[in-house]
């Protein structure tokens, strides 16, 4: 098998007596969508926070494209190619969709200390941003403030931002949350194409989407991965059925 793009090894994090992350190891291989599921309180958020750097693990390693990133800042991890999209918040709600993506292009170029040239006349920024918006089908709404976009459009914007960042691995935190059935279907189709850009670690509650998209699934319960496998393996795993799927399967 190829080298994993994102490799998490024996990650541990405790809050007092609570072991929120208890020896988690997960691999994300090129081209795959790896879903992370688990009941509420299983430690999914804590895990995501450690991967993207807002929480520091007690022990264990996180490697991105072979490079240890476990002790780097959020911004450094992002510059190395970790793309995170968010559940709720927009990047900059007051800015138009276009300017949000432009900011991401700017961040990717690593050049925020330029004080005089107006960004709107910077073709390197506007054109690259517009191209990303076209790819996610949001070009027509380029000049609408991000805070005024619909729920689904905000999600599309998030993806456009991730595309602008030259991402090596995506971390998608419940992209389907709050979307209608139609929106979920469109996004499911889109994520299927997105995996060709970079592999996706997907945290998602929508089981239909997970079963439709995921190449592999890891099930997290009380901070431990109790099973990792293909969709069929997970569906038929007795431990998973009792712990989590219950009435679903």
């Amino acid at each position: 098998m190829a080298e994993p793009v994102l490799a998490i090894r024996d990650l541990r994090k405790s809050f007092g007596a609570l072991k929120a992350t208890d020896g988690v190891s997960i691999d994300l291989y090129p081209g795959e969508i790896h879903a992370l599921i688990g009941p509420n309180g299983a430690g999914k958020s804590t895990l995501i926070h450690q991967i993207c750097g807002t929480l520091r693990q007690d022990s264990g390693q996180i490697r991105l494209a072979g490079q240890e990133i476990g002790h780097r800042t959020v911004a450094e991890r992002a510059r190395l190619g970790l793309g995170r999209t968010f559940q709720i918040s927009s990047l900059a709600g007051e800015f138009s969709a276009l300017r949000n993506v432009m900011l991401a292009v700017q961040a990717g170029q690593g050049s925020s200390f330029r004080f005089f040239k107006p960004v709107m006349r910077d073709r390197a920024l506007t054109e690259a941003a517009m191209e990303r918006l076209e790819r996610v089908g949001l070009a027509a709404r380029a000049h609408v403030p991000a805070s005024e976009l619909s729920h689904g459009e905000k999600r599309q914007l998030e993806i456009a931002i991730a595309l602008a960042l030259d991402v090596k691995a995506f971390l998608l935190d419940e992209p389907m949350a709050g979307m209608g059935p139609e929106g979920s279907k469109v996004l499911t189709g889109f994520l299927d194409r997105l995996r060709q850009e970079a592999p996706i670690l997907l945290v998602e509650h929508d089981m239909d989407a997970v079963f439709a998209l995921a190449d592999r699934i890891s099930v997290l319960v009380y901070g431990r991965v109790i099973a990792t496998g293909t969709v069929d393996e997970i569906r038929n795993d007795p431990a998973v059925r009792t712990a989590y799927l219950g009435d679903h399967a």
């Binding site: 995170r84 918040s89 990047l91 709600g93 700017q106």
Partner: protein, 323 residues
Amino acid sequence: MKRENAINLVLLLALLATPFIAQAMGETFTVTLVTRIAILALAAVGLNIALGLGGLVSFGHAAFFGTGGYAAGILASHAMSGEPMLFGFEGSNQMPVVWLAAAIAAGIVSLAIGAISLRTSGVYFIMITLAFAQMVYYFAISWPAYGGEDGLSIVLRNAFPGVNTMRPMEFFLVCFGVLLAALIFSALLRSSRFGAALQAVRQNEVRVASIGISPMPIRLTAFVLSAMITAVAGALYADLNRFVSPSMLSWHMSGELIVLIILGGTGRLMGPVAGAALFVVLEFWLGGITERWQFFLGLILLVTVLFARGGVIGLLAGKERHG
């Protein structure tokens, strides 16, 4: 032309024209009043970079305003007496030198204050900037070499090449020129890459970090630039009054600058100018009617915060749109 640009232009032209009209009518005092508007506006243009664009509610900008004032006063007093100061430098009465000294001094002070204060946010940031400014204030009071509590007089206004700065009109034009330069700088800054990053950090710090832009260096740079502009205003203010005292460093001054910005329109390019004009006119006009003019200023501030968040500029030009 966009409506806001038109309003900005009208405001600037009015500010420029008023002293000429006043001069023609023999109202020299009005020229001084408008000069005060221009200088306070300049100080607020500086603060607006931190507060308006960066969302950094600095309650300590008087420290930088006063640093600029003392830079002007100290350099002028040495130039007058001929006594050498640091490194045998004999002071200067040339405005460009004074401004540079003011900006550098405030730059160093703000770098130190910012590096510590910017580790906090919200109420803590407000309090820690206030605390630092009070430290500078008490330092100035207890430093007898430059007047201590009594302050320091500037016998002759510092000079500007080719200009007689003792003439109110010519001094006003110098101040207006500096204000204009600062506004142009501020306009360029807000539409630049740095400005985009700074405004995004205000809107969502965590998200900005997650796309690979570290918030701290962006904020610190904005804080220092902001302080340097406010310091140049402080130098001009000292020249205007031909006097600098610790009151320039007091927290009242910091509060006044914040009030100016809120009245004019937080984060708007010309908010500081509109705010300073409103503030000085109210101070003069209401101050002539009643000694308790600050009560009415308080009322106006209250109404602004409750019903007109965008201040004067927000009322006239509507909500700000970003590309």
